[in-house]
Amino acid sequence: MLLIKLAFRNLMRNRRRTLITSAAIVFGMALMHFTICMQHGAYSAMIKTGIGSMAGHVVVQGDGYEASGDTSIVVENAGRVAAKLEEAVSYKGIVLQRSFLGGLLTSADGSSAAMVSAVEPEKDREVGKFHDYLHEGEWLEGSKDILLGVGLAETLDVELGDKLVYMMQVDDEMASKLFRVKGLLRTGAADQDGVMAAISVEAAKELRGGADHSTQVAMILEDFTQWPEALAQGRDGLADENVEVLSWKEALPDMDAFIKLDRNAGQGMLSIMGIIVAMGVFNTFLMSVMERTREFGVLLSIGAKPSQIARLVLLEGVILGVLAIGLGTVVGSLLVWPAAVYGLDFTRWMGEAMTNGGVVMSAKMYCVYNWPRMLAFAMGGFMLTVLASVWPAWKVSKLTPVEAMRHQ
C-alpha cells in the first residue's frame, strides 16, 4: 500500500511530463478503439450483405461448384435437399433456394448481358438483401416478374411494366423466357447496378426445363454464432447427397480474404503506433529514474532493498498504464459512439457503394463496438506500457548506494 502511494506521488511530481506521456497513450488508444470498431462495423455489414445476397450461414451447392464456378453444376432435387437441411439443423433459421445465372436480356431497344439471381420471393423479403435494394416498383411475385438494376434498365431502355426476353443456355440448348419488369434495384455501386437482375426461383426452374434444380440451398440462422454447430449438423444430414456443404466463409472466399487482409493491415499499423508510443513511455521512465538516482541512493542507504525500488518503478508503470489505458478506452469508446449512431459518410470519396471482394459495401459505414477485441488490444497496450518500465526498473535495482548518492 505504501509502495502504491509512493509510486503515485512520484508520478505526480512531474505532472506535466506524466500528462504528456499519458496523452500519447490516450491518443494511441482512442485511435485504436476507433479503428477496431470501424473495421468491425464494415465487416459486419459486408458479411450481412454477402450472406443475404449470395450465401447463408450454411450453404449447400452442387459438388464442385465453388471450385469451378461452373453454373451448370446445380443442387439436384433442391426441394428435397432443402427439406433435409431444415430437418437436420436443430437451430432456428430460414432455408432458401437461390440460382445464379448468366445470359442475355433483350428489350425492344437493346440487349445486355446480366447477372441474374433467382430468389424465393417471400423468404428473401424476410432475410435476404435484394429486398433492401428495391428502389422503385414492387417486389417479385410470380414467375413472370423480373427486377432490374437501375443501370441495366437504362441500358435496355425499359420502364416498369415493359417486357423483355431473357436468354440463356441450358444443357447445350438455348432457353428463353418472357419477363415483365416489376421493379428496379439499386445498390449504389454502378458496376452492380449495371448488370444485376432478380427473378423468382420458379422462373429459373422453368428456364431449366422444369427440373427441380437450384444453384444453392442456403440456411440463414437467427443467431449467427450458431453456425459451426449448424454446419456440422448440415454436413451429417446431407452426407448421402451429391452436394458440398460449406460455411459462409467458404462460400464467400473473396470476401473472407478481403476481411482478413484488411484486418491484418489495420493490426500492423496499430502495432507500429503502439511501439512508437511505448518508446516514448520508455524514455519518460528512463528519465524519471535517472533524475532520481540520488534519491534512490538515499533510500538504499537507509535500508531499502534494491528489489523494493525496482518494484516501485514497475508500479509506477502499472499505475500509469492503468490510468492512461483506462482513460484512452473511455475516450475511444466515446469517440466511437457518434460514429456508431449516426455513421460515417464516405460517399463523397467512394460513391454511394462499392464492391469489395465481390460484395457490395455501402460508403455510409457504422461503427460497431467490438468489446472483446477492444479489451484484447487495451490489454496489449497495458503490457507494452509495463514492458517499457522493465528496463528502467532493472537499471535501478543494480544501483549501489554510494555511487548513486554521488550522482549529480
Binding site: 511530463r17 445470359g103 442475355l104 448481358a113 508510443v277 470519396w349 464492391t355
Partner: protein, 407 residues
C-alpha cells in the same frame, strides 16, 4: 553556431535522444513503406481504370452515356480517328464499338460484351497485346478472330483455336450471329472484361451489328501523357466538334473513380498524421525534459544577454537536428523496405482480390514517387518542430534570476 550548440545539446543525453530519434525514425520508415504500398495499389487502379478504360478524354454520341443504346454512335469513324491523330494536343487515340450479346462455345454460352477495336491503336493505347496470357493477339486485318477474357473462356469451356458464336441484336433489329476463331485469352485486370468481355476487329463487329464506319466511343490521351491536362484537351476538342458529340474528361465520365483517386493522397496524409503524430508526442516530451533540466543553464545564457527569441531558435534547432538525424536513419530503413516492396512485392493472398471492379494481383508491388518522399521528409520535420514549439516557448519565458535560482 546555433547548429553546433543544438547538436551538442542533443548528445548530452545520448540515450534519450537516441530513443526519441528511433521512435521518429521508426515512424518515418513505417510511413514510407505503407505509402509505397498504397501508391503501388493506386498504380494498379490507375493502370486499369485510366490507362485501359477511361483514358484522359472520351468522346461519345451525346445520348450514349445515359442510355448506352447501340444506336447512339459516332459516324465517319475512320475519318474522325485520322483527324484526331493529326491533332497536336492529342497523344494516343483508340476507337471502340461495343456489342452486347451471348458469347458461346460448343456447349455453353454467357452474356457478355464484345468490344470492336482497331488492334494496332488499342494496343498502342493500352498495351492489350501484353495482356494476352494464352494464344496470340488479334491480327492487323479483320479475319473473324476474337479474344476472350480468361474467366469468360473458362466459364463457357472453350480453348484457343475453338470456334466462338456471338449472338446479338443488330442495329436493324434482327438477331445476328456469326462464328469467330478464338485466337487468344486476355487477363486485363478489369473484372468486367475478364469475366464478361471479348475483343474483335472493329470491322468484324461493325459487320455483325450492321453499324458501318461507326464507333461508340473514342478514347484519347493528352500529348504530354499527363492526366491533369485532360480538362484542357477536352475544352480544345469541344470547340472543334458540334453539339452531337459529347467530349468529357475521365473525371466527368466516372466521378467515382476520380474521388477514389483522390483517396490516394488522403490515405497517405492520414498515415503520416497518425504515425508521426504519435512520434510527435515522444519528441514533445523529450524536448520538454531537455528544457526543464537546463533551466539554470538557460537562465545563465539569458542573463549573459541571449534574447528570448534566440532561445526559441535554439530549442527549435535542436528539434530540427533531431528530426534530420531521425530522417536519415528512418529513410535508410524505409528506403530498403521500399526497395523490397518495389522489386519483390508482397504476397497478400493466394488468389486475386477484386476491388471496385479491378482485379488486384495477390502479389502487389510497391511504387515510389518523388512527391511521396518529399511529403514524408516535410512531415517528419514539421511534426518535430510543432512538438518543440511549446517547450521552446516555455524556455523563452524563463526569467534569468528565477531560472538561475532553481536547482
Amino acid at each position: 553556431m546555433l547548429f553546433t550548440i543544438a547538436w551538442r545539446n542533443l548528445w548530452r543525453q545520448k540515450r534519450r535522444s537516441l530513443v526519441t530519434s528511433m521512435a521518429l525514425a521508426l515512424g518515418v520508415a513505417f510511413s514510407m513503406a505503407v505509402i509505397c504500398f498504397n501508391d503501388g495499389f493506386y498504380s494498379v487502379m490507375n493502370r486499369v481504370m485510366i490507362e485501359q478504360r477511361l483514358g484522359h478524354v472520351q468522346m461519345h454520341h451525346a445520348d450514349y452515356p445515359g442510355r448506352r443504346s447501340m444506336h447512339d454512335t459516332l459516324g465517319d469513324a475512320a475519318a474522325r480517328i485520322e483527324a484526331l491523330q493529326s491533332n497536336e494536343s492529342v497523344g494516343q487515340v483508340t476507337g471502340r464499338l461495343r456489342g452486347q450479346g451471348l458469347i458461346g462455345g460448343d456447349t455453353k454460352a454467357e452474356g457478355g460484351e464484345v468490344i470492336g477495336i482497331v488492334p494496332e491503336l488499342e494496343n498502342a493505347f493500352t498495351g492489350l497485346s501484353q495482356m494476352v496470357v494464352e494464344g496470340r493477339f488479334l491480327g492487323a486485318d479483320s479475319a473473324q478472330e476474337i479474344l476472350l477474357g480468361k474467366i469468360l473462356a473458362a466459364t463457357i469451356d472453350v480453348e484457343v483455336g475453338d470456334s466462338i458464336v456471338v449472338l446479338t441484336q443488330s442495329s436493324d433489329g434482327s438477331m445476328g450471329n456469326n462464328l469467330y476463331t478464338l485466337v487468344g485469352l486476355v487477363s486485363t485486370g478489369n473484372l468486367s472484361v475478364d469475366r464478361y468481355g471479348g475483343y474483335m476487329h472493329l470491322a468484324d463487329l461493325q459487320d455483325l451489328l450492321v453499324l458501318e464506319d461507326s464507333l461508340h466511343e473514342i478514347t484519347l490521351t493528352a500529348a504530354s501523357g499527363q492526366k491533369d491536362e485532360a480538362g484542357e484537351l477536352a475544352a480544345g476538342l469541344k470547340a472543334e466538334d458540334g453539339d452531337d458529340v459529347l467530349v468529357r474528361t475521365w473525371e466527368e465520365i466516372d466521378p467515382q473513380v476520380a474521388e477514389m483517386m483522390k483517396m490516394q493522397a488522403f490515405a497517405a496524409g492520414m498515415i503520416l498524421f497518425f504515425v508521426l503524430g504519435a512520434a510527435g508526442f515522444v519528441v514533445l516530451n523529450t524536448m520538454l525534459m531537455a528544457v526543464y533540466e537546463r533551466t539554470r543553464e538557460i537562465g545563465v545564457l539569458m542573463s549573459l544577454g541571449m534574447r528570448p527569441n534566440k532561445v526559441v531558435q535554439l530549442v527549435l534547432t535542436e528539434a530540427f537536428c533531431l528530426s534530420i538525424f531521425s530522417l536519415v536513419i528512418g529513410m535508410s530503413i524505409g528506403g530498403l523496405m521500399d526497395w523490397y516492396l518495389v522489386t519483390q512485392g508482397i504476397q497478400l493472398m493466394e488468389g486475386n482480390l477484386e476491388f471496385m471492379g479491378v482485379v488486384m494481383p495477390g502479389r502487389l508491388y510497391g511504387a515510389v514517387s518523388k512527391s511521396a518522399i518529399v511529403q514524408t521528409v516535410v512531415a517528419g520535420i514539421l511534426f518535430s518542430l510543432i512538438a518543440a514549439a511549446w517547450p521552446s516557448w516555455r524556455a523563452s519565458r524563463l526569467r534569468p534570476v528565477e531560472a538561475m535560482r532553481q536547482d
